[in-house]
Structures are given as C-alpha cells and as structure tokens.
C-alpha cells in the first residue's frame, strides 16, 4: 500500500521522466522550427504555442483511448502503469518546452546567425549549437514543464487509475483524500507539493546565476 514516501517518490519519478523525454524531444524540435524556413512555419508556431495550454484531462482521455485494450496500442498493456503516466505527461509538457525553446533560439539566432553560417554551420547543427550555448536560459523552459507535470492531476488519474501502491501520486492522492473528506491530510500533501516546486525553482535559479557568472 502506498506510503507517503512512495507517493512523493513516484510523483517525482513520473514527472522527471516525462520532462526528460520532453526535453530530449522538444529542444531539437523547437530549435529546428526556430531556424528553419518552410511553408506553414508560422501556422506551426501558432499551433505549438496554443498546445502549451492543452487541458491535462483531454490528454489523459486521448492517451487512455490509445492505450486501452480496445484501442490501437492496447497490446502493449501499458494502461494503468507508471509508464502510461509518463507518456501522458510527456505529451503535455512537450509543447511547453518546444515552444519556449523556439522563442529563445529564435531570439539568439538573430544575434548568431551570420557568424554561424559564415563558419559553415547550417540548419539543425547550427540550431543545436545555439541550444547548447543558451542552455542555462532554457532551464526556465524546462522548469515550466516540470511545474506543469508535477501539478497536474487530470492526465495521470485517467491513464494511471490512481491504483493504491502502483500509480498513486501526490496530486491524485490529494484528489482522493479531498473526496474522502480528509481535508487536513490533503492540505499537508498540497504543502509538500508546493515546497517541492519552490525548492526546484530555487535550485534552478542558483544554477542559472552561477553559469551567468562563469560564462558571461
């Protein structure tokens, strides 16, 4: 049965995994859109920005329909497992990281473009060089994604099933305890969640400052 420690650990494991995946996919995606020039680019940018506001419960429903036995990916048997939760949260967080990365890279591209092209760096290679160069300011984008993942309940509760001992995380437990009328417990969990998010933000801020001082 889920102990408090297991619940917090699972929340972190699911959300951090999702953010890691979303970052690995979203940074190159955002960078590519930032430096690329192709028909429909502006529409894509608007769409990407709009997807930042994807309702978690809608994502949960869509992933549920995908992973359900009655759905196309039912064979994988992923429904009601932490992996399904990671998938749902990755989908939720990917647009945030990609869109914010695109904005930052596009701003930096204005400064770097001519010099990089002069040296022979083109396309995705140049974009990824930029991403690495501005990596510390991209921390903000990653943090935004992490905050979204840790705070959401709609997606994980549908695809995870809030199963005791298996897929119960902080937000779903808060929902459960509230509906049981155990408000003090729900509130304490809520405070733990908030404290966690504050700690993560503080750490990232310190990292950014240190990097600023070192690299200029």
């Amino acid at each position: 049965m889920s102990t408090l420690g297991e619940i917090v650990a699972l929340s972190l494991a699911v959300s951090l995994s999702a953010v890691l995946l979303a970052t690995l996919l979203g940074l190159p995606l955002g960078a590519a859109i930032a430096v690329g020039r192709f028909p429909g680019r502006r529409v894509l940018i608007v769409l990407l920005n709009a997807l930042m506001g994807l309702p978690p419960v809608v994502v949960g429903l869509l992933v549920y329909l995908l992973l359900s036995r009655a759905g196309p990916l039912g064979e994988l048997g992923l429904l009601f497992t932490p992996r399904a939760m990671v998938i749902a949260q990755t989908i939720l967080v990917l647009p945030i990281i990609a869109a914010l990365c695109r904005q930052s890279v596009e701003d930096a591209w204005v400064e770097y473009e001519e010099q990089l092209r002069s040296l022979g760096a083109h396309g995705l290679h140049a974009a990824l060089t930029l991403v690495w160069d501005i990596r510390f300011s991209l921390v903000t984008a990653v943090l935004a994604g992490l905050g979204r993942a840790l705070a959401e309940v709609g997606a994980v509760i549908i695809v995870g099933g809030n199963i005791d001992g298996v897929t119960r995380v902080m937000t779903t437990t808060i929902a459960l305890e509230t509906s049981k009328g155990d408000l003090p417990l729900a509130l304490s969990l809520g405070l733990v969640l908030i404290a966690l998010v504050i700690a993560l933000n503080a750490a990232a801020h310190l990292i950014k400052e240190a990097a600023q001082r070192r690299y200029g």
Partner: protein, 242 residues
C-alpha cells in the same frame, strides 16, 4: 593558401540586391582578383555591408550573378572567412571557440588543438586561451575573431568595419593582425568608413554610393585625384583625422 585551384577571382556581373521593395545594391560589376587588399568604401547606408554579404554568400543576389572560380560549395566555404563589426563568440573559452570553427571545417580532431593554439599565439591571445570568450574586452574578442579566421587559413578574408567599435589602441592591434594576414598571402576585402585606415591598409578602393559601384582605383589615385564627383564629396565630407 588554397592548395590546388584557387577560388579567386570573384566575379560580380550586374549584381543587385533588393528587399522590401527597396533596391539596396544595383548593377555592380567587378572582378576581385588575388593580391591587392581591396577596401570597400562608402558612407553609412551606401550598401557596403550588403555588398560584403553578397560576396561572402550570406545573401543571394536578387539580380545578376556573384560567382567564384571553381565549383563545390564545401571548397567555397573553406576558402573564405568573415569577421563582423561585432565579434560573435559562443559561451565557451577562447580556445573552444576556435576549436568549434575547426570542427566545422572538418579538421581532424588530433590536429585541432595545435592549430587553435597557433592561431591564438599569432594574435597574442595565448595566455587567455582558457578564459570564457565573452568576458574578454571588445578588442580582445575581435582579435579572437581574427584568430578564429586565421586558424581556417582562408584564401579570402572579409572584414566588415572590424574596428568601428574599438578605441585607437585596439584598432592598431587589429590592423597589425590584418597586415599579418596580408603578408601570409590571404586576400583581404574590407569595408570601412575610416579614411586613414583605408590608406594604411588598402591597395585599391571600391567606392560605393547609394548602392552603385561609382569608382574603382588604386588607393593613392583615389585619394589624390578622385575621378567621380561623389567620391570627391565623400572624401571632403569625412575629416582626414578619423
């Protein structure tokens, strides 16, 4: 510097560039050959920067032709380097910035360290090799940009108003490096509106006025006896001590 098959001369045939409905460069025809240091001179807004970028390939002409000798985009890229008015450095050490350029030029990894340090020594920045490039002074960063270009051993070096933002001391250091480039056989194409600098470094002048190539002459001839009215007005307008 190129082993076999030089990419010079660069030929412009009625080259033009227009953007946003406005013509910025129009009907420029010229052959830029190896040897003399070519100065592109003109007032602000005359189109010098755009012309440089057309030559270097950062912009494609909207009319006419800009053609180097020989084929192969790869060789073209490696045959040229450009230094801009503001040096753009990555958030890495001075050495790492040069290594990055060498990596792009596909220099074998084992060679890169040595060649990069050689370039730094050439411009006198060897002691700051491991300092973050962005904390160096403006003059040092511009010297670093030149070191980065040096490491690539280009056949042609473009410089777009390289000392416009620097004080006289730093300016002199940069000019010394440019002279070293010239002495080693690199073709220099440089834009400036500093007449003294043009005289110090240049062999020939391409004078641009309102997007057109109005006059081309050896440096001495140009300053002593400008053939065109526009050139004469330009020389008079700019005070000789700048």
């Amino acid at each position: 510097m190129a082993a076999s098959g030089s990419i010079l001369p660069l030929t412009l045939r009625d080259a033009g560039f227009a953007a946003g409905g406005r013509s910025i460069i129009e009907g420029v025809s010229a052959e830029v050959a190896a040897g003399p240091t070519t100065i592109i001179l003109g007032a602000n807004g005359a189109g010098k920067s755009v012309l440089m970028r057309l030559m270097h390939g950062l912009l494609q002409p909207t009319s006419g032709v800009v053609a180097w000798r020989g084929q192969g985009a790869e060789r073209l890229r490696r045959g040229q380097a450009m230094v801009f008015q503001r040096p753009i450095m990555l958030r890495r050490s001075a050495l790492a910035n040069i290594l990055y350029a060498l990596e792009l030029a596909r220099i074998p990894a084992a060679e890169r360290g040595r060649q990069a340090m050689d370039a730094l020594r050439e411009v006198g920045l060897a002691e700051v090799a491991h300092r973050p490039a962005r904390v160096l002074s403006g003059g040092e960063q511009q010297r670093l940009a030149l070191a980065r270009a040096w490491a690539l051993h280009p056949e042609v070096l473009f410089l777009d108003e390289p000392t416009a933002n620097l004080d006289p001391g730093a300016t002199r250091e940069i000019e010394n490096v440019i002279k070293a480039f010239d002495a080693s056989g690199t073709k220099i194409v440089m834009s400036t509106h500093n007449l003294g600098q043009a005289r110090r470094l240049g062999d020939e002048v391409l004078f641009i006025h309102q997007g057109r190539l109005v006059e081309r002459a050896p440096v001495d001839t140009f300053f002593r006896q400008p053939a065109s009215a526009e050139a004469a007005a330009f020389i008079k307008g700019e005070l000789p001590w700048t």
